[in-house]
């Protein structure tokens, strides 16, 4: 029972913290920081998928959302500007 409660508590934390990460990623003017917030959100989602016993999703989510997508976004930012105008 205690283990199950811990799993639900961790899931709740991941859900809450990932929503905050998304908010910070959307509102951040520094695009490099926005990519880092987005990667943090993906990491929290990966933990949530693991807790939901979906290892196949975790194994593909980690390299793509934490490795390849941030790298591609950072390379695109390097071709434009780091700071969002406006």
């Amino acid at each position: 029972m205690a283990a199950e409660t811990l799993v639900y508590a961790l899931l709740a934390f991941c859900g809450l913290a990932s929503t905050v990460s998304v908010y910070l990623a959307v509102t951040e003017k520094d695009l490099v920081k926005a990519v880092i917030y987005s990667a943090a959100q993906s990491g929290l989602y990966a933990v949530a998928y693991f807790l939901l016993m979906a290892p196949d999703v975790v194994l593909v989510y980690l390299p793509v959302a934490l490795g390849l997508v941030p790298a591609i976004l950072l390379s695109l930012i390097s071709k434009t500007e780091r700071w969002e105008g406006g």
């Binding site: 809450l16 908010y23 509102t27 196949d56 194994l59 980690l62 390299p63 390849l68 790298a71 591609i72």
Partner: protein, 260 residues
């Protein structure tokens, strides 16, 4: 201060909606029972006695490459076409003289990447090759392997990677070979059925009640079925495809860095 207030507002909103969802959860929760299709996959895939078995405990892999293999094939084709379109519009990057700008990251990072990159490739290979028995598969393994060239490009440079006989042409060739392999594996049982005059299907893995043609399946301790072949070819396609995307997006002249 303003940012902290905004975050507090987001947290409060999420908690309020969670409370609301909890209050009405009795009416929102889906049925605890499995839907009939899910029940079929979960019972048939791992059960060797079932006439529609995929003979693997990895039900996700069975659905991806056996029961719904055509879907996965077209997803791979989409990835392939997107990368080919990218190469056509950007042009293949050539190994040029290093621009002499940034010398890459620090020697400590480079030494770490030299150690970690082979480990990442090994983990990706294990994930891909065991995908027909365990969680994982060709896409998972290929995406993991592609993190190794990403680390090399970040720590050294694209010039360094291209200097290691990794070229856009070779990556495109590997990607095409993977896709052709998937197509050939998908058609092999069907063609074998045509040749022997038996009923057979595209993407057929093990024998079905009305279609006796199949891959060998379990041979002693080894499993030789279409799932393994699909995983190997998918791994090849995805690993080379993502590496190609990285090489395209971070061209050598821009990064500079060391050439060896």
């Amino acid at each position: 201060m303003r940012r902290a207030l905004q975050v507090a507002f987001v947290v409060t909103t999420v908690l309020a909606f969670s409370l609301l969802a909890f209050a009405v959860s009795e009416h929102l929760l889906p049925s605890a029972g499995l839907r009939s299709l899910a029940a079929f996959y979960l019972s048939a895939a791992p059960d060797p006695q079932n006439p529609y078995t995929a003979a693997t405990p990895a039900v996700v892999a069975a659905v991806l490459w056996d029961y719904r293999g055509v879907d996965t094939f077209y997803e791979t084709v989409v990835l392939y076409l997107a990368l080919v379109a990218g190469v056509l519009s950007l042009g293949a990057p050539k190994l040029g003289k290093a621009a002499g700008g940034r010398p890459g990251l620090s020697p400590i990072v480079k030494a770490a990447v030299r150690v970690v990159a082979p480990v990442v490739v090994s983990a990706g290979l294990a994930m891909g090759l065991h995908g027909s028995e365990n969680p994982g598969g060709g896409f998972h393994g290929g995406a993991t392997i592609a993190v190794a060239p990403l680390a090399v490009i970040a720590a050294f440079s694209t010039t360094f990677l291209l200097g290691k006989r990794v070229s856009a042409e070779a990556l495109l060739l590997l990607m095409s070979a993977g896709l052709v392999g998937i197509g050939a594996t998908a058609l092999s049982a069907f063609v074998a059925g045509l040749l022997v005059g038996a009923n057979s299907y595209v993407f057929q893995n093990l024998p079905k009640p009305s279609a006796p043609v199949d891959f060998p399946g379990k041979v002693g301790w080894a499993t030789i079925d279409s799932l393994l072949l699909f995983d190997i070819f998918e791994l090849l396609t995805v690993a080379s495809g993502f590496t190609l995307a990285l090489v395209e997006l971070v061209p050598p002249a821009e990064r500079g860095g060391e050439a060896r």
